[in-house]
Amino acid sequence: MKNSFVELHARERAEALLDDDVRELVGPLDNMISPHLEPQGIVPESDDGVVLMRGTINGKSALVISIEGKFQGGGIGEVSGAKIVAALEKALEDNQAGKTIYPVLVLDTGGVRLQEANYGLLSISEIQNAVIALKKFVPVIGLVPGRVGSFGGMSITASILSYLIATKKARIALNGPEVIEQEAGVREFDSSDKDLIWNTLGTKQRLATGLVDEVVEDTVDNIKKSVSDAIDAKKDAHRTENIDFYLSLLDKLDLSKKLDIDGYRKLYSEVKSEKHVIDDAVGSNTPGTKSRGRVWFEKLTGIKNAKSSVSTVLHAEKDGKEYVAIVPDADNKFPRVRDGEVGLEEGFAVASIVNKVVADDADKDIKRPIIMVVDVPSQAYGYQEELIGIHVALGSSAAAYAKARQAGHPVIAFIPGDAVSGGFLAHGLQSNRLIALDDTSITIQAMSKASAARITQRTIAELEEATKHVPAMAYDIDNYEKLGALYKLVKGIGSYDATDENVAKINSIIDEAIQTTVGKPADLHFRYETPIAIESGRKATNAVRKAVFEQWNA
């Protein structure tokens, strides 16, 4: 319509939301481009596709972060991610100092920029951490105007925001239909069926099932008013604190037939939320489906053939530390969650467990450390997972871990197995120390090679060629170490070698890691300050942070 917001570019959108007097931070003239695109033959953009702009919204001091959906599909890379994180951290500082400033995120993004895969994942987890901290002071409003909409890791972020406004030209989901078709076949999700896609992921359906809070007409005035009103009303949908509701919903889900849109709307409206408590894992004599995560959980907690009320999520306390693991169940009632993926139930169960640990220790000075045992091949790829909103499930567990860490619980991730994409964001990347085994069988990545090749329209051979130039693209743990995010890469222990001696060694490394967190800020800055990070791994990140901090105040 006249004065359409969707038609505007990211910079124009930021200007449209803010009153007249605006100031951009680290703009195109600062030319902080991504160093990882040119080596792969991709043309960079001077602002790396993210606009940071300070000003006021109807007089209220505000920071607008606007992602350019037209540049590389709005994918988050190292520089663009660092710009967002640094700006959110300065906003947090101001709010903590009583200088109220409201952050607004304009999401037009496919999630991780596949050409900078692991940088994208790291940045997205850091964005989520900053949002959780900010929400203690001010509402963090999200806006999904469309054409691209919101996908991938940034949809997990969207679920964590206080309030989500969209137009009817947007779609919101974790996995795009092409990725689900690639991973699970066309009968799971036919990516050529436009009606099915929009009726499932479009904002009309998302509004009806609690994944979007408001759908507005696509004009600048309407959208600015909604954002401003949402700030005034201090709106908060608490979308990632709806855990018992969703666990109750999953209990009632009839898995014998394929869930469709009407079926879900009916179920969603009828479910009554009941309190769920997931007890500690107990020993048994029937071994669960084998996985590296299960082997180490059982050895670290001393529970043999551990099982729990949720077959895929084990947790137990040992020597004052709470261990949490996601494990496979070959005959899980959820057909798309049989190889250890993080699906709906896993996300909400982990959130329930971690929130309980925090609640139990609320009035204690020393907070119990939480140890994630990470072996997650990916998030679940399924139609009903998207229909219900798997991005909210993963957002719930990511938020739970972040809140735990910010409440003083040391959160340590021990990685004996895979750590991929949404699974790693939900169960792994909110830890402030990452310990991984140096084993070639471990994959740390944002997407399977087949899907990444299809989305970036390259052959798998071309993809592998690219990984030689950009460590962040690589799938193996040695390249991952080059990013500087690991606390420790443990050599000499294979991912299945959970001998007593090795378990003891890992335990001591975990305890040591816990000690390094004592008295330190409960944020994720550790990753920027390791020798590798400073020297090469996060050089661009640190340069961007410096520039944003310098330019924050005029």
Binding site: N31, V43, S46, K70
Partner: protein, 99 residues
């Protein structure tokens, strides 16, 4: 991807920096910065290879009409000469604006 460099002997120095456009498919971004040189340097990063001659023609024509002295950076994702010219002339309009 190709990186191209051109330079033109010009005389009218520009007073302020200007940025126009987005690196979308079929589009480009253009950045003008004031320079102390007595010539204009143009650095182009383009996703479409083999169009050096066409870029030369577009820039010859542009500088013939607007002989400005500036440091110019272009990031191009496969735009036609018409779109390149539109962005360059839009940058000229932005230079004249007081806003």
């Amino acid at each position: 991807m190709e990186k191209l460099h051109f330079s033109f002997d010009t005389k009218e120095p520009i007073q302020k920096p200007v940025h126009v456009g987005v690196v979308a498919s079929g589009d480009l971004e253009v950045i003008f910065r004031p320079t102390t040189d007595t010539k204009s340097d143009i650095n182009i990063v383009t996703g479409s290879d083999g169009f050096k001659e066409v870029w030369q023609n577009v820039l010859d024509r542009f500088f013939a009409r607007y002989p400005i002295q500036a440091n110019i950076e272009i990031n191009d994702f496969g735009s036609t000469p018409g779109v390149v010219n539109l962005r360059l002339t839009q940058a000229m309009e932005a230079l004249k604006d007081e806003k």
